[in-house]
Symmetry: C2
Subunit: 409 residues, 2 copies
Amino acid sequence: MSVQVSLERMSEKVAAFSKFGALEGGGITRLSLTEPALEARAELKRRCEALGMEVASDDIGNIYATVQGTEDLPRFVMGSHLDSVRSGGNYDGIYGVLSSLEAVETIITEGIPHRHPLTVMVWTNEEGARFEPAMMSSGIVLGKFAKEKMLAVTETGGTVTFGEALAASGWAGDEKNRLNKKDYCAYFEPHIEQGPVLEEEGLEIGVVEGVVGMVNYDIILEGVSSHAGTTPQRYRKDALRAASQVILDLWGKLGALAGDLVFTTGEIHVRPNIHTVVPNYVKFSLDARHRDMAVLAQVVDVIKGLPQEVYGCKLSYEEHWGRNTIEFDAGLLGFVEEATQECGYSYKRMYSGAGHDAQYVSEMLPSVMIFIPSRGGLSHTVVEYSTPEQCAHGANVLLGAVLRADAAL
Amino acid sequence: MSVQVSLERMSEKVAAFSKFGALEGGGITRLSLTEPALEARAELKRRCEALGMEVASDDIGNIYATVQGTEDLPRFVMGSHLDSVRSGGNYDGIYGVLSSLEAVETIITEGIPHRHPLTVMVWTNEEGARFEPAMMSSGIVLGKFAKEKMLAVTETGGTVTFGEALAASGWAGDEKNRLNKKDYCAYFEPHIEQGPVLEEEGLEIGVVEGVVGMVNYDIILEGVSSHAGTTPQRYRKDALRAASQVILDLWGKLGALAGDLVFTTGEIHVRPNIHTVVPNYVKFSLDARHRDMAVLAQVVDVIKGLPQEVYGCKLSYEEHWGRNTIEFDAGLLGFVEEATQECGYSYKRMYSGAGHDAQYVSEMLPSVMIFIPSRGGLSHTVVEYSTPEQCAHGANVLLGAVLRADAAL
């Protein structure tokens, strides 16, 4: 087996960064550009500089810590984000940064020669928990969102704008430092799976082929509100009864499509939502994801084929945003898979159901992701957990893939 | 046909009182003891005194406007409330007051002899829309609620207590004026049906035999929250899917009990209620009402027989308050029915599904209610409506029933 990262050092990194925004009883709240996030940034900078890396930031606070290579080649970049959701955990995002740092630290401290410069990266405000939307900075860099519009976004539940928080952070650097096609040639993003598949199947690594496409709809039932005590059942047009029927029908019909289609009715709004009044209005969300866009087209057909009336209630739907399936780079995927095999880890090729900065980056640079298992499939919660060994496995795969790419590209 | 109320005068009363708290576009907001409610009280007092009635109030602001009879007998009392819900209509509550006033005005202006004193009554804060709970004042008079505790209740969405509002209103009178068993011997409450039955069956009057009993439960489903994009359907424990199934099962099972059982799942709370997260917690209300307590016992059996697990989610339930069925006075019911027949109005004997002050009063005095149709079965809405003729019909039935009772009791 080739060179390995240090399990102890990897674990120390996770433990050290778990302090920034730590909550009593475990987990963290480390919203983008808040004090705990700035402490984590400062600690990362200190560690990178101690390794002799040069730390820069671009105009939206994305961090690039670089160690030079032996040749004048474009850089490899690897990382993720260090912000969390409210009451989040110690792995989602930060693991990608720390495993990248551990891989580079191994290369530096072991004196492993590398032709390409290697950059550890942090994306600002990936979660969107403080400033909507999620993946804001990679979206800006890839031209998905207008920077000026994003700078004007006010924090959820507060008064500070993203622009104000950025200016106050001291991390607003030069626009020319942004990730670009000329100076970089490959992007690697390790991440926790955020789902149960690896754990359930007893696998150590997910070699991530892409990010699945998705569709988002709201489904609306409109009935008539009436008094709970005085309206015989036969006269009722109960929108919650109708919505319940539609939710179960969707489970039946969508469940009969591709077996690995995922769909979720996660959000529901009921009016007037008073226990003595028959609901006259229900709106619920439907989120469906699959790598095969033809399957998503079938989902849309199911939605369009829903009856116009359910238990006397009018059914309508609204389409929201969707995304096409993103395919990661076949060459990088090969390096990741070979590195996984060389380490002797069990693995599967799989798609990410969640969105990641890598999906935007993949439009600019060859990109790939590496998943490690999430205990119970949980993320965005204080109990999210991956074992020290799992964390080290992901870093080893990254290290191996980077060195293979370095030799080949 | 015996003496009749005046259709014009009845209509004028409804129109005149519709101004107090009027909303642009129709309907009213006349929360208890707010300025519009005090204006309505002042107008009622003015009208009663103009008819030679003596107006008094008790210590919680209930109004008693009395015209003496020819003998030293206990009083008949008739009325309802003049407060409304937010964005309510011009009939729920106030119709009972105004039809009572119209019946008494007819007796006075036509010089109809009557042995018993006749009292038109207004209950303070029936709706509970400003100060919870509903039927607060009849509840205090009947010993359901402690007065001191009620005085301390703070208005919904504000800072004023019921006690402060009462003191500021000028309507806090003498406790000895409260409705009591010695000075009063019969209670009549006209009201809109608040349901669709009379309209659907083409009937003019509901002779109300009582108020149906009810049970209230919360039903809780506890699953596991997980990411919408990364959790295969087979691993999900989706509390909203489970709740949808239980709601439909309840419709099936409760719908197979007595045909006139009414049940409602009107309120639902979902956590985390985010479109990208599988819900891990759903709580919904179940309100079931029937006059036969044995049927309500069957409802409870259905709830207790629900499975403990639904789609992997744990099911539990919490019992909240209930009430036994209230039976109104058979003698007064007979007078109401005879008066209805004498007027030649189509009618049915029926139970009230909604709660009314009459249900508390019936524990102290012989009581009865008279219903007129509600257009579309609607109440607690700006569009609630009964025709002038329907309003006059109810007042005629009240008039006839009061005169029959006056002769007989």
